[in-house]
């Protein structure tokens, strides 16, 4: 069974760089079926908005190829109810709402506002390396 994971948008995009420190292992995990991303309409909007940003200089075809590649592995939810969860950065609350409503294994983020909340919920909040360790522990795959 794949681990069901919510990826912060910055993690999804940072994992597409050739930087060896942040590689593209996330995308391999999805392709291999080791993890299944869980997303909401809020997160899809955030991904689309960021990819449209001029800093990435992407054609529409490239943007949509990235979105399609990501969403083909994802479970997509809408109308996520408010959980009442709080976070220092209110922009991160929709991630917590989705995680609590759907019931997932982990939130993967590089954002201290989210990472500081690890241990407060039934799911883990970890960096990509933390997810790597979870995958090893789960013995689901030979990583």
């Amino acid at each position: 069974m794949p681990l069901r994971v919510i990826f912060d948008t910055s993690v999804v995009l940072a994992q597409m760089t050739p930087d060896p420190r942040s590689g593209s292992v996330l995308w391999l995990w999805m392709t291999d079926g080791a993890v299944q991303p869980v997303v909401s309409d809020y997160l899809v909007d955030e991904l689309l908005r960021n990819l449209e940003s001029s800093r990435f200089r992407l054609s529409r075809a490239a943007r949509n190829a990235i979105v399609a590649e990501y969403l083909q592995y994802a479970e997509v939810f809408t109308n996520v109810p408010s959980s009442g969860a709080m976070c220092r950065d209110p922009r991160d609350v929709p991630i917590l709402d989705l995680a609590i409503w759907v019931g997932i294994d982990a939130v993967v983020s590089l954002d201290a506002d989210l990472l500081d909340l690890d241990g407060e919920f039934s799911f883990s909040i970890v960096r990509p390396m933390g997810l790597h360790e979870m995958l090893q522990r789960s013995d689901a795959r030979d990583y």
């Binding site: 912060d8 930087d19 909007d45 940003s53 200089r57 490239a62 969403l71 997509v76 939810f77």
Partner: protein, 110 residues
């Protein structure tokens, strides 16, 4: 961009097949023809893009972003990019911006 097509004659089998495909996918003839044109016409070769499923509430948003409907079912709406590009080509375009992972995290998380 709107593309106008005059009525044209189709073999009966193709007419029946179009109707059957539309019924099976629960989409209109215009949506099916758009899908067929976008996936088949370029270089006269099969270039269907990656498909994914979203809840019906997201359909209009995604169509406005350049995706098209392939199929509707109880599981949701299946979409694909109107202009197919391989993920590898998209990745190359993304990486050509020269940003590091840290740059991206700073830019996205602000």
């Amino acid at each position: 961009m709107l593309f106008e097509v005059n009525a044209f004659d189709l073999p009966e089998w193709a007419h029946e097949e179009l109707k059957a495909q539309c019924a099976e996918r629960a989409i209109g003839v215009d949506e099916l023809v758009k899908y067929l044109v976008c996936t088949q016409v370029k270089s006269l070769s099969l270039q269907a893009g990656t498909q994914f499923t979203v809840p019906p509430e997201m359909e209009s948003r995604m169509v406005s972003e350049g995706f098209m409907v392939v199929r509707r079912s109880a599981e949701g709406v299946v979409l694909t990019p109107c202009e197919p590009m391989s993920f590898q080509d998209a990745l190359t375009e993304f990486q050509s911006n020269g940003l590091t992972g840290e740059d991206i995290v700073r830019a996205v998380d602000g």
